[in-house]
């Protein structure tokens, strides 16, 4: 196994809400290899965004982190602010769900791109302008020079997401974390953006972490998927395997809750109940109360992740049994 680009080990996040401490992440283990594309799937509050915001130290002062985030041999958890700032953008770039509000409304696109270029590549003046135009052109924005003079509100959501991607590319990072990059966009625009991300990955060999609530988006664009539930990764498997042989009941539930676009219509099999609140998690396995395969032992302890097959991990007490 090659050295992973980033290795997250037993990462925990606790939020201090003022009244109580709420644990949002319960020990996440996740390693991304150089150039790999990993999908992170889960429902709202499952911790998929928090994992990466925590890794980059972007959660603010109310979050307390535990565990390790190893990047190039250093542990980013608890490291100095300056050290984190040197990693952000430069080594690991991040783009977000709502592109239009992720850009500063008072500056022109060119200035915001220039800021990234100055920061990471020490460029300024006409050189920065030319490079900014080249980046915009790279992400498929026509008439790039003119667009540099536009403000974010003058561009569509899809265009703004392209600008965000261009900005992420400014430092030529080793990895891009895309947090629901297309959720706020229309279907045909989503397709454009995902295509662009694929193309950039082909050209640069950059690793990609794609966070999404949509299994389909992740399936088409990544090699491996981690399914998160209530602050834990419950299954981690190659894309093909997760659809063919899902090992965790939650993953199976998600798959059968999705309708198909073609073929015979069948009644959806809904997962009963609701996603538990992070401050009110059930005992043992967090999914136990909604699980079709529930048994008494599920309540004993949160199940450890076991390797079901080569490169296929699942955190379910029944998952291991299949191969034992």
């Amino acid at each position: 196994m090659p050295q992973p680009l980033i290795d997250i080990r037993k990462l925990t996040v606790d939020f201090d809400t003022g009244r109580r401490i709420v644990r949002a992440l319960h020990g996440v283990d996740l390693a991304v290899q150089p150039g790999e594309a990993v999908g992170l799937v889960g429902e709202s509050g499952s911790g998929k965004s928090v994992t990466w915001l925590a890794a980059l130290g972007l959660l603010g002062s109310r979050a307390r982190l535990g565990g390790q985030v190893l990047f190039e041999g250093r542990n980013l958890v608890g490291s100095a602010v300056a050290e984190l700032e040197a990693v952000r953008g430069a080594c690991i770039a991040m783009i977000f769900q709502d592109p239009s509000s992720s850009l500063d409304p008072v500056y022109r696109i060119g200035k915001q791109l220039g800021e990234a270029l100055q920061l990471h590549r020490g460029m300024a003046g006409t050189a920065a302008l030319a490079e900014a135009a080249r980046l915009l052109d790279r992400v498929g924005i026509a008439d790039a020079r003119r667009r540099l003079g536009d403000y974010p509100h003058e561009l569509s959501g899809g265009m703004n997401q392209r600008v965000m991607i261009a900005m992420a590319l400014a430092a030529e990072p080793q990895m891009l974390v895309a947090d629901e990059p297309t959720t706020a966009l229309d279907a045909t625009i989503q397709a454009q953006i995902l295509e662009l991300l694929q193309e950039i990955r082909r050209d640069t060999g950059m690793a990609l972490v794609l966070i999404s609530h949509d299994l389909g988006v992740v399936a088409e664009n990544t090699d491996r998927v981690c399914v998160m539930y209530a602050g834990r990764i419950v299954e981690d498997a190659p894309i093909g395997t997760i659809f063919a042989e899902p090992a965790h009941p939650y993953t199976r539930g998600l798959l059968s809750a999705l309708p198909e676009l073609t073929g015979p219509r069948r009644r959806l099999v809904a997962i009963p109940g609701v996603v538990p609140e992070p401050w009110n998690l059930p005992r043992g396995c967090s999914f136990a109360p909604r699980c079709a395969a529930f048994e008494a032992a599920c309540e004993a302890a949160a199940p450890a992740s076991v390797e079901v097959a080569q490169g296929h991990w699942a955190a379910c007490i029944r998952a291991g049994g299949r191969n034992l």
């Binding site: 899809g158 397709a191 609530h213 389909g216 894309i239 998600l254 809904a270």
Partner: protein, 331 residues
């Protein structure tokens, strides 16, 4: 009221809704016309579901609001049970509104945070002066039960419920007047994936039990197919393709529908060839002449720029507004 038995519950003919706007900003610039809905027709039978799909700004929500009489028509007619929908605010409209209810995307915004959900479910009965207090409570409890909530939910407040439960409350409130049409505007988009299936199944069960008709608006083609008997694809205020969802999504005839279908990420078919459209949809203030889609259409020819295609019937029963759709060439 003497409509024939097979008359549709809702018949929309050539609905048009235009807005006067100022071009280029809030203060200056000349007036222009925003064509939110520009000639939409459909018929919806009792007990059936019409799915409306399209991207933001295509006019699907405006269409829904027109059907309910919440917006006035610039042109066209809506008939409910054969009767032309009277103007909003009139007594007749109010009584027809009992027949037609709406469910929105965000259940939290649709509910009053300070009022227990049971009271909110009973409220439409009070507004229309139906039943006495005791009976209203009985009915509310019964309807809460039928949307999968329990009696103890009656006294809860919206913030004490999950997203899915709130949407059930909204449904219960819409259903308590025993409507015949439910207009659902993105009813599951705000819900988590595992909850969406619960609500979709509930909608289907309610339709089977009560013979409800749904006007179901969503951007999620898979969910639309799951619930719809017929589907209409909208682009810039017009229907571009309409018909049986199984047919339409399996073999879309209009290039726009093809692009929409192709844009859906499919887990099982990696590396398939995609039809990816260029650019953003045009602003509905400046709808391109001819076929409005020609600016993004990979197949557009000269005729598309000049001549607006009408919706025409294909052999398999669907309607398509495209000069180049199969079976259209000699039309």
């Amino acid at each position: 009221m003497n409509a024939p038995l097979d008359a549709p519950l809702v018949q929309a003919e050539n609905l048009v809704r235009h807005y006067r706007v100022r071009r280029g900003g809030r203060l200056f610039g000349e007036h222009a016309t925003l064509r939110a809905v520009d000639g939409v027709s459909f018929a919806l039978q009792a007990g059936r579901t019409l799915g409306l799909v399209g991207e933001s700004g295509c006019g699907k929500t405006t269409t829904a609001r027109l059907v309910l009489g919440l917006l006035t028509l610039t042109a066209g007619t809506i008939r409910v049970d054969g009767e032309i929908l009277p103007g909003a605010g009139t007594a007749r409209w109010r009584s027809l509104r009992q027949v037609m209810q709406m469910v929105f995307q965000d259940p939290l915004a649709a509910l009053d945070r300070r009022v227990a959900v049971g009271r909110q479910v009973m409220e439409p009965l009070a507004i229309h002066g139906i039943a006495n207090a005791g009976e209203r409570r009985e009915r509310a409890l019964a309807i809460l039960h039928s949307v999968g909530l329990q009696a103890h939910h009656f006294d809860r407040y919206p913030h004490e419920l999950s997203g899915g439960q709130r949407q059930r409350v909204v449904l219960a409130r819409a259903l308590i007047l025993s409507p015949r049409l439910l207009v659902c505007d993105e009813p599951i988009s705000a819900l988590d994936v595992s909850i969406q299936a619960q609500v979709v199944n509930l909608l289907l069960d309610l339709q089977a039990e009560r013979g409800l008709a749904y006007l179901f608006i969503s951007h999620d083609l898979r969910m639309v197919r799951q619930v719809s008997h017929e589907v209409a694809v909208m682009y810039l205020g017009r229907i571009v393709e309409q018909g049986d969802p199984d047919l339409l999504f399996a073999a879309p005839a209009h290039p726009y529908t093809q692009a929409l279908v192709s844009a859906i990420p499919v887990a099982t078919e990696r590396g398939r060839k995609r039809l990816i459209l260029k650019g953003d949809p045009p602003n509905p203030v400046s709808v391109p002449p001819g076929c409005a889609f020609h600016t993004r259409c990979p197949m557009a020819v000269a005729r598309c720029r000049a001549e607006t295609p009408a919706l025409r019937l294909l052999d398999d029963g669907r309607r398509v507004a495209c000069h180049l759709a199969p079976g259209m060439a000699d039309a």
